[in-house]
């Protein structure tokens, strides 16, 4: 009977465990630091096993020791900072302290009220299993969980199983998300080989020192690392850095001088706290950098403190923030910045302080290296970098008005943060053509900013290259940019980019879009709004993606609006479009329409709460230069799509645009055009290219006075076209055919069909639909319902 009750209890507990473990698994996944992970781990374990206390010890530089990382509950005494290990925990099973610990450590741990332990094994990114090995060397990297209670802990089989599964979940989380972070913490302990009296730079293989960092420092440093990553400029980074150092060392003042050119000059970068007297110098010249030093007392190193100018201002210590770089003369240490620190009395650094600052410096150097890797400019200084980041702000002023000879433009730019993920650019190409770029990088802060910078650089490179034709082919530009982004291993951030080229010779605007949805075209003559076909895939995520490319021909006072998703609701909703159409319909009334619309849009954007970066570009060719057009083509539109049925939605929007602009096309005829053009394009994809997506299909729509002419061209395999061989679908045999209806229906739906095709030479299908003659329309008329149209 007792056994049965026991079994039932075990089963109930097992069911409960499954639920708990499932919940914990989800909680683990959302943790971003080892401290958060072990916090949950310890609490779960304590709750399940009804323990009073638990602690985590992580490996140290010394293979036979582990260091306290985190503890929970009420310890009966003080836990030792480090413990000595005798042997390796072979698995996650519950063990007694004497199985693992030296006698002295066992006594200390027992005195604190702990009685058992188990290990979490951890496989780092290099793939080696850390801990749970068979030699004591490996134990340096196993994580020990020590537990205790006021009663005797006697785990049963279910407890062991629970422990095993919980441990596995923690191990998986470490491997997937934070193994590197934990290893870095362990490595930092190893490399922190500092003399007490003076900060000599660490060298590999030197003696390891006793671990000095305490749990609080670890957690502070982790927090700071995350704050570094979310900063938006180097000033933000160093602001956090200085405030952290000042708080940790209880400093009254601190200053950073950043390296500039010439290399012995350091310029004031950031100042915190008040100097003792007067002001600090703008430039510090250092005749000779102290060799192999991390930090110095400036009284002893006058080369860092000419004329004791800094000593008089109450500074006493200097920390040299340096990085190793490869030069033609070998690997050398380069000083990025000098950090001066002071308080009213002498600063006496404890070894733990030194280690803390060294780790902090390591983190900030890591950020600088990351910036360098994007910039690929090894010789850059902090000043270069901050000016690059600042460029993102300064080059994209809040609102910009500009007027090129052939194109007026207005830009609204509202970043949600100091450095946003949106950006725009205008590049002058050959023959007066102008490229317009609008992009939206997902995210904010430094990661988005450096990605933004890299993309701008790449686009700038393309626009200014000798291959001018390439810069004028938007689909090629985007495909090229996507390949470049994907080559970069750090590419994890999706990017939306719109790239368009305006040609003043014929007022054509050719564009492609990767993720920037439906730019708007307001046609002045028709007083209609058209959503242009766009919205290809994001860049930077999928290889070998291709883009459709459209050419439209602008007309006097037409307005093209490009916008990022941050201002989509303002542009598309709230009646802005209708008001804009009214202004366009009225025409100039003392003020340029573009200025009025710019103000209107500005009002609509500012009236909404801003959650995302918000950028809109308004482009309009001024009416007064219309006569200067060399080859006006107002009634032509061209779309080129890749030979892939996934691009058919773009074609549908295009055809919809074409039809809605036409007067004199009945509903039935409009349907006939939609059906036939899509069918012809599908024929090109299915038969011309035999389903291969590497070809292109071009659809040209031209309005002539009495008809609409559509031409569908592919460079596929072609065929021997013989009109007499097209089935007539009169006999029973033909009527049940599964193929051959495409060409037959084209002739049914359209007024004229002409097909030019030769085997191996591609196919050109020319479709004609006659238009019903209507009285000429007025130049400007009342606004109509908004829709897709030319």
């Amino acid at each position: 009977m007792t056994d049965l009750r026991g079994e039932a209890r075990t089963e109930k507990l097992a069911r409960f465990d499954v639920r708990t473990l499932r919940e914990i698994s989800s909680k683990f996944r959302h943790k971003s630091t080892p401290a958060e992970l072990f916090h949950i781990y310890l609490l779960t374990l304590m709750g399940r096993m009804m323990l009073r206390r638990a602690a985590v010890y992580i490996p140290t530089a010394d293979a036979g020791k582990s260091r306290l990382f985190l503890h929970k509950g009420h310890a009966a005494g003080e836990l030792p900072e480090t413990i000595e290990l005798l042997q390796i925990p072979p698995n996650r099973r519950w063990m007694s302290l004497s199985d693992i610990l030296s006698e002295s450590s066992q006594a200390e741990i027992e005195a604190a009220g702990f009685s058992n332990l188990h290990a979490i094994r951890w496989k780092d990114s290099a793939g080696a299993t850390r801990g749970a090995g068979v030699t004591i060397q490996d134990s340096a990297l196993s994580i020990l969980v020590i537990t205790g209670s006021d009663r005797m802990i006697e785990p049963n089989q279910a407890d062991e199983q629970f422990l095993d599964l919980l441990g596995r979940q923690a191990e998986e989380t470490l491997e997937r998300h934070m193994g590197d972070m934990l290893r870095r913490l362990v490595d930092l302990g190893r490399r922190s080989d500092l003399a007490r009296g003076e900060g000599r730079q660490s060298t590999v293989g030197r003696r390891t020192r006793e671990a000095l960092l305490d749990t609080r420092n670890f957690q502070t440093l982790q927090d700071i690392a995350f704050r570094f990553k979310s900063g938006s400029s180097l000033f933000d980074l160093f602001n956090t850095y200085l405030l952290t150092i000042m708080g940790r060392l209880r400093l009254k003042r601190a200053a950073i001088y950043a390296a500039t050119l010439p290399s012995n000059c350091f310029r004031m970068f950031l100042l915190k706290g008040r100097p003792e007297r007067g002001s600090m110098p703008d430039i510090i010249e250092v005749d000779e950098m102290p060799k192999n030093q991390l930090w110095v007392n400036i009284k002893d190193h006058r080369e860092l403190n000419r004329g004791n100018i800094l000593g008089r201002q109450g500074y006493s210590l200097a920390w040299i923030l340096s990085r190793e770089t490869d030069t033609p003369d070998g690997r050398q240490t380069r000083a990025d910045a000098l950090v001066y620190m002071g308080r009213d009395e002498d600063i006496r650094l404890e070894a733990a302080d030194i280690k803390f600052i060294e780790i902090l410096n390591h983190q900030i150097v890591g950020m600088l290296n990351m910036l360098d890797s994007f910039n690929a400019r090894e010789s850059g200084t902090l000043w270069d970098w901050d000016s690059n980041l600042s460029t993102l702000i300064q080059d994209t002023p809040a609102d910009q008005c500009a007027r090129k000879e052939h194109l007026q433009r207005r830009v609204l730019f509202r970043p949600a943060h100091r450095v946003g993920g949106d950006f725009y650019d205008f590049h002058d190409l050959r023959d007066g053509r102008q490229a317009v770029v609008l992009a939206d990088v997902v995210g904010h802060g430094i990661p988005a900013a450096i990605w933004t910078y890299a993309i701008r650089e790449q686009l700038q490179k393309i626009a200014t290259s000798d291959d001018h034709d390439r810069a004028s082919r938007p689909a090629d530009v985007l495909e090229n940019l996507n390949a470049v982004l994907l080559k970069n291993q750090k590419s994890e951030i999706p990017v939306s980019v719109f790239y368009g080229v305006f040609d003043p010779r014929d007022w054509s605007f050719t564009y492609s879009s990767a993720g920037i949805d439906y730019p708007l075209l307001l046609r002045a003559q028709d007083a209609k709004v058209f959503e242009l076909p766009a919205g290809g895939l994001f860049l930077g995520c999928v290889p070998n993606i291709r883009f459709s490319e459209e050419t439209i021909y602008l007309e006097p006072d037409d307005l093209l609006i490009l916008y990022t998703d941050g201002c989509e609701s303002a542009v598309l909703g709230g009646g802005w479009r209708e008001t804009a159409l009214q202004h366009i319909r009225r025409g100039p009334c003392g003020r340029p329409v573009l200025d009025l619309l710019h103000e209107l849009l500005l009002g609509a954007i500012d009236a909404r709460p801003q959650e995302d970066d918000c950028t809109a570009i308004l482009i309009s060719p001024p009416a007064e230069i219309a006569a200067r057009r060399e080859q006006p083509e107002p009634d032509l539109r061209t779309l080129t799509i890749p030979s892939d049925v996934r691009h058919l939605p773009t074609l549908r929007v295009f055809i919809d645009n074409v039809i809605r602009r036409l007067d004199g096309l009945s509903t039935e005829d409009a349907f006939a055009v939609e059906f036939t053009v899509e069918d012809a394009a599908v024929n090109s994809i299915q038969h011309g290219y035999e389903g291969r997506p590497d070809g292109s299909v071009t659809i040209e729509a031209r309005r002539e006075p009495d008809r609409l002419v559509l031409t569908i061209t592919d460079r596929g395999r072609g065929f021997r076209y013989d009109i007499d061989r097209i089935p007539r679908f009169e006999s029973d045999q033909d009527l049940y055919r599964s193929n051959g209806r495409g060409l037959f229906m084209m002739r049914q739906f359209m007024d004229d069909v002409d097909i030019q095709s030769t085997p191996g030479g591609g196919t050109v299908v020319r479709l004609v639909k006659r238009l019903i003659q209507r009285p000429p329309q007025r130049a400007r008329r009342a606004p109509e319902e908004t829709g897709h149209a030319i």
Binding site: L648, E678, Q686, E730, L735, Y736, F744, Q748
Partner: protein, 109 residues
């Protein structure tokens, strides 16, 4: 829901197309349609309510399905055809072999 079905009896079902049949979804249409074609003496009521576009590819599939189902002693009828669909059926001459109606498809008993 596109390409749904509603059985009427063991020998008849309503196949609800639910939307346009274009190259992007032609495979689903073909697969579902051909499933019914294999059955003997089966009546397939194709509910085309709301269908505005049936590509020539889809028309070919429908013609072949009609032939198969009739070979097995059954039939295929189109219901709920709107103006555009009627035009497609007419211009493809599918109306010569398939009975179509703008009335709604039969309901389950």
């Amino acid at each position: 829901m596109p390409f749904d079905s509603r059985p009427l009896s063991d020998a008849a079902t309503v196949f609800v197309v639910g939307g346009d049949v274009r190259p992007e979804n032609i495979e689903g249409y073909r697969k579902k349609l051909y499933e019914y074609c294999e059955r003997k003496t089966f009546i397939l009521h194709v509910d085309m309510t709301g269908v505005e576009h049936l590509s020539s590819w889809a028309i070919g599939v429908t013609a072949l399905a009609t032939q198969k189902i009739r070979q097995n002693g059954g039939d295929l009828k189109i219901w709920g055809s709107g103006d555009n669909l009627k035009r497609i059926l007419k211009f493809s001459r599918l109306d010569m072999i398939i009975e179509s109606s703008s009335d709604p498809a039969p309901k389950s008993p």
